[in-house]
């Protein structure tokens, strides 16, 4: 999974956030949607953090 460090996790987080947003907006499964939003936000933040440390660095 080293290939995903930095930008990869950021992009994955963005996609997972969008999926969570879709679940929250389109359905009544607020817990599932909320969990996806949280996972997406964590992945995105982890990617930003790794890039800030110079790992997987190009923005």
């Amino acid at each position: 999974m080293h290939e995903l460090r930095g930008k990869g996790w950021r992009v994955l987080g963005y996609f997972v956030w969008m999926l969570g947003a879709g679940v929250v907006l389109d359905s009544t499964a607020l817990r599932t949607g909320g969990a996806l939003l949280l996972v997406g936000a964590v992945l995105f933040a982890a990617g930003v953090w790794q890039s800030a440390l110079g790992d997987g660095g190009t923005p």
């Binding site: 290939e3 460090r5 930008k7 990869g8 992009v11 947003a21 879709g22 929250v24």
Partner: protein, 244 residues
């Protein structure tokens, strides 16, 4: 009220994050001359999007995933997309349109990386792409249910198929034909973001998906215009070849 605010928050986040990502990429990579652009999707937007997929391309190659597996995943994603449209889950369907479009880009990139860019793979990819596109539009037809909007989806589907057919037929006759306003990536972007923004609009303001209706109408018109552009281009090229 909660959904309205959440929808608007997401509009800001989706657009804001993409905008910041693009600005940062363009600042650090001022040369995108190797990427081919079009009227609706410029070379620098494509270069930015492709760069986002580089880590996944490397990971998939390292994991030994075959390009055909990504093509099958794309078809499965399109079936899921059709089901979500049919159930009225427009935001999720729009997301799946963008996701399957991304898989379509990735299978080609992975194939080129592992030298698996074979004629067989290219043929299977093209055929699967048509099935995937058809299935997605069927879901959209079920969503609209009845009336003139179903006809618009049908015309958009026809346009999409004709854009691909004119290219395939032209290439069979030895003419390279990649011109036109609405090629496949443009169709993915229009339908994907059209669905997402339409869902946000409905949650924030209300209405019966006027933005999605406008998107499908645009796809219907521009798709067929692209097919005609290709017909004219290939006719002129072949006519010139005959007289040469």
């Amino acid at each position: 009220m909660f959904r309205s605010l959440f929808a608007l928050l997401n509009l800001g986040l989706i657009l804001g994050t993409a905008f910041i990502g693009m600005r940062l990429y363009w600042r650090n990579h001022p040369d995108w001359s190797t990427v081919k652009g079009s009227r609706l999707l410029s070379a620098r937007v494509r270069a930015w999007y492709f760069s986002n997929l580089d880590p996944f391309e490397r990971w998939l190659v390292h994991a030994g995933v075959r390009p055909i597996a990504l093509t099958y995943a794309q078809v499965a994603g399109s079936v899921a997309c059709a089901l979500t449209y049919a159930r009225g889950l427009v935001f999720t369907a729009g997301f799946l349109v963008l996701f399957t479009g991304t898989l379509d880009i990735l299978d080609g990139k992975v194939a080129r990386q592992i030298n698996g860019d074979s004629p067989r793979g290219a043929f299977l990819d093209s055929v699967m792409d048509r099935y995937a596109e058809f299935v997605g539009y069927v879901g959209l037809m079920v969503f609209f249910g009845a009336g003139w909007r179903v006809w618009m989806v049908l015309i958009a589907l026809l346009g999409g198929m004709m854009v691909s057919y004119t290219r395939a037929r032209a290439e069979g006759l030895g003419v390279r034909c990649e011109i036109g306003w609405l090629q496949r990536p443009e169709r993915f972007v229009l339908l994907g973001f059209g669905s997402i923004f339409s869902s946000i609009e409905v949650h924030a303001i209300g209405g019966d998906h006027p933005l999605l209706t406008a998107t499908v109408t645009l796809l219907a018109v521009l798709g067929n215009v692209t097919a005609v552009q290709r017909m004219v281009y290939v006719s002129r090229t072949l006519g010139g070849a005959t007289h040469a």
